[in-house]
């Protein structure tokens, strides 16, 4: 009888382990289906769009600062915030060509932002590289009120760019390791 009990307990522990793994995997897929909650803006349509593009930019800069500060946890949080802002973006006021381009950019950027929301800092920086390209392409279409600096670090992954609101270089790919590596390669506005 006790052998029986032992066998059953073993099965029980085995299935518990699997259960845990499932739970661990679950939040990732939940995040992907998160709906944005700030759809009820009552501003005029075009203002609304600009505001949403600016919100994306703000989230992006906050995320960049977290990476500059080597702050993995903060970057996770801000990656998720950015993913939400990206999903809330509404391209309907742009031309057909711009809309399809924007949709593409936003989809790609959302994926990278979501990954940043769940990765270690090395991966976050890898995703930030492509995210930066996406956001730069977005700004080329939406424009912005801000003065932006496109900066470039020749050392990271064969040369990598990012955007900043400040002229002085603070490198998000190396953080404290090489804080000032890079140069301004283009000014926007």
């Amino acid at each position: 009888m006790s052998t029986m009990a032992l066998a059953a307990t073993m099965i029980l522990t085995a299935s518990c382990k699997d259960g845990n793994k499932e739970e661990a995997a679950a939040p990732m897929s939940n995040e992907m289906h998160q709906e944005s909650m700030d759809d009820k803006d009552d501003m005029a349509m075009s203002d609304n769009q600009d505001a949403k593009a600016e919100a994306i930019l703000n989230d992006y800069f906050n995320l960049k600062d977290a990476l500059v500060n080597d702050d993995n946890g903060k970057a996770k949080e801000l990656g998720n915030t950015l993913a939400k802002s990206l999903k809330a973006f509404d391209a309907s006021n742009y031309s057909d060509n711009e809309q399809s381009e924007l949709k593409d950019i936003i989809e790609d950027a959302t994926e990278h932002a979501e990954h940043i929301g769940e990765s270690d800092i090395k991966h976050q920086r890898e995703h930030f590289k492509i995210l930066s390209k996406d956001v730069t392409d977005m700004v080329a279409i939406t424009g912005t009120d801000k003065k932006l600096y496109e900066q470039f670090c020749p050392m990271y992954d064969g040369g990598t760019a990012w955007l900043s609101t400040k002229e002085e270089v603070r490198n998000p790919y190396y953080g404290s390791q090489m804080l000032k590596c890079g140069k301004v390669q283009r000014e926007i506005n």
């Binding site: 059953a8 307990t9 099965i11 995997a25 897929s29 593409d104």
Partner: protein, 151 residues
Amino acid sequence: MKVLKIIAWIALGALVVIQFFPTDKNESYTTPETDFVLVNKVPSEIENQLMQSCYDCHSNNTVYPWYSKIQPAAWFLEDHIKEGKAELNFNEWDNYSDRRKKSKLRSIIKQIESGEMPLDSYTLIHRDAIFSEKEKEAVLNYMKTLKDDLE
């Protein structure tokens, strides 16, 4: 001792009951025109590697192992496959824009290079899914060429 016995019976009962919970099978007998291998005319040795190491979780057709019929393993697999396909579905390759193809290729290269893919929990049973050094290099070179063509 009595309590233990009751717990054991309940656990056993639960294990029997969950066997009757159905899972969604990821099976498809046709390959769409948008498939990675078709679109890119992938050479056969690379194709074989991809089929063996990637397609079970990154396409619409999984070759299921025997334990997929047993719960809770079936749930665990279902979850992995769903997640895998959401990240990358080789069958849908041509539906991705160039921007996304580049993004996906970059992730494919990074993850194979670092050994994150194929997943350890997959290669644990699918020993033939593990890339030899030579195979790894061949697949990586192929993916890099594709990526460079898109730049």
